[in-house]
């Protein structure tokens, strides 16, 4: 792990989607940083904006109806201020990205090898050399029969193999950051474990930082160094894996922990969180978790909660300064 050498820093990142009746605030004031060679996880339930953050970094939001505010510092440059031309040089070359469903993410009409080669060719590598590099990448991602598989079409591969292709494709140009947007959600558990192992090994080998987007806390505990917990477009708590799992402070994080399946029956039924995520069309002040929080006071609904530091690595966004008591 890099000695606190910062690679990416988001500063008050906001993403609004233009919708019929105004703006939908999908991401609000998200700030965090990722260090070189670190695996950083963003965890939260569906629709909490974690994917939006990931896509906003490279301006890859699919609908082109978004407004991105705030700063995205990468290697001394603010990516949010870059032109499309300049961003093209960052994508793939500096920051790679893999997605949830590797079948949709690969073009069905080209062989997988061709698609990996396409990226390598952008670095003005001769064709033959690029093809050798493709085979080398297939070996790197532990593809069985690498020489043959480069000629396979996406539909001729299993889900795990396709995700390996995606990883190979995105690491082929040696980026320093890999954004992985729920890379194992579409895969079964054994394949998931293999892919996670692969990502960790590649990180160790190439010192590539990984930003892992997931809704799976189990996965986080297994792979991540640091974690940000998101709720309704905001980071509510951030810390090392040990901070978050051993001493969760924010009421939402605590409830999430209680919603995790345990190994023993003694702990009784799983708890769920009542209510649902609010629709965020207008920029209302106040804590976004207030309507589901057992400790919410009047102040929570009218003022933005402050960020409290527990330790240099651990902070959370809540009015309650010591965090809330157990069993809320």
């Amino acid at each position: 792990m890099g000695e606190n050498s910062e690679l990416l820093r988001l500063n008050e990142l906001c993403v609004d989607y233009k919708v019929k009746d105004g703006y939908l605030s999908a991401v609000r004031n998200v700030s965090f940083s990722i260090n070189r060679g670190e695996i950083f996880a963003i965890v939260g339930e569906s629709g909490c904006g974690k994917s939006t953050v990931a896509h906003a970094i490279l301006k890859l939001l699919p609908e082109h109806n978004e407004v991105i505010r705030g700063e995205i510092w990468y290697d001394g440059r603010d990516l949010n201020g870059l032109s499309e031309k300049e961003l093209e040089k960052v994508r793939g070359h500096e920051i790679g990205m893999i997605f949830q469903n590797p079948l949709d993410s690969l073009n069905p009409v080209y062989t997988t090898g061709k698609q990996v080669q396409e990226g390598i060719l952008l670095d003005n590598v001769p064709k033959a050399e690029a093809w050798n590099k493709v085979i080398e990448m297939y070996r790197d991602v532990k593809m069985p029969d690498a020489e043959k598989r480069v000629n396979s079409y996406p539909h001729e591969m299993s889900g795990g193999m396709r995700q390996r292709v995606m990883i190979g494709m995105m690491l082929a140009r040696n980026p320093r950051l890999l954004i992985a947007d729920e890379p194992t959600t579409a895969l079964d558990v054994t394949i998931e474990a293999q892919i996670l192992k692969l990502i960790r090994e590649l990180r160790d080998e190439h010192d590539t930082a990984v930003m892992m987007i997931t809704h799976n806390f189990g996965l986080v505990s297994e792979i991540a160094d640091r974690v940000a917990v998101m709720y309704a477009g905001e980071v509510v708590e951030i810390g090392t894996v040990f901070d978050i799992f051993d001493e969760p402070k924010h009421p939402y994080t605590r409830r999430l922990m209680q919603a995790l399946p345990r190994t023993t029956k003694a702990q009784g039924r799983l708890k769920t969180i009542d209510g649902s995520v609010p629709r965020l069309t207008n920029h209302k002040k106040g804590c976004r978790f207030a309507n589901r929080c057992a400790y919410a006071t009047e102040r929570c609904r009218t003022e933005d909660p402050p960020v409290n530091d527990v330790s240099p690595s651990h902070s959370y966004r809540c009015f309650s300064e010591q965090g809330v008591k157990e069993n809320g």
Binding site: E84, G96, D104, N107, Q115, E118, H155, M169
Partner: protein, 313 residues
Amino acid sequence: MKDYVIKKLLLGVALIFCVSFLVFSMIYMMPGDPASIMAGQLSSRENLEAIRHEYGFDRPFLVQYFDWIRKILFERDFGISYKYRLPVWGLIKTRIPISLKLTVATLIIENLVAVPLGLICAYKKDSLIDRLAVGTSLVLTAVPSFWLAAILMLVFAVNLKLVPVAGFESWRNYILPIVTGVVSGLASTIRLTKSEAMDALREKYVITAYAKGLTKRGVLVKHVLRNSLIIIAVNLFLQLPWLISGYIIIENVFGIPGMGNLMVNSIVEQDFNVIQAIILIITTLTVVCNILSDIVLGILDPRIRIAVTGGDR
């Protein structure tokens, strides 16, 4: 891929046979007797019988059918035109290239104009150029082609004297008919391309292509256009037979002696052998175009080959 092509070819041959049988029995069952048309209305009963016997109309249906097929296959003999008293093949032979020249040129020009336009419309959806292209082409398509043909003829041939009014001797005769054909097909191809490209633009692999670092141009050409081409190419082949029938009117307006022209005349004259031959040729062409489009589809979309033949890696 080889299995796939062979399978498609066999199916095509079987289909042509079925159609030939239907065409033959349709004409056989139709009211009106070729013998009486040839003999004239005031002919005697004996004379009629003699003609029937001479041309073999008194034989059983199936014998007549297989005789017809045998002659077409081995002697390229489609029978005699009752009207012109000439071999049908001789009549059609000179007209096929004229019609094909017209339709193929129309198709190529139409797609060369419509595909790039459709792509631009998809990429710059709701922009001025999108609205202009879609709106204009729609209006032009709604205009009946015989009217458009007449107007074009009036403006460019009669008033401006840029091209000849009618005839088929020089390439300049083909300009107005082709323009008429292109205009009437433009809107549907633009719309098809636009909707295909818009679907492709929404695909996740387009985001992957951007994430890889490809330029906008690279993504548009290598991923969006390439994947839209699958349907566009299929459409191109399937349009061809339709165009030939669509040219019946245009050929008549411009006095071009193509297949459509001959077909209309033959129907009016109840010239059965000619009608049979033309229907058979157009259906064969349709089947051939279908096979071609299937093969092109197989080439352009690797998923299809697997689906049809169970894979031939």
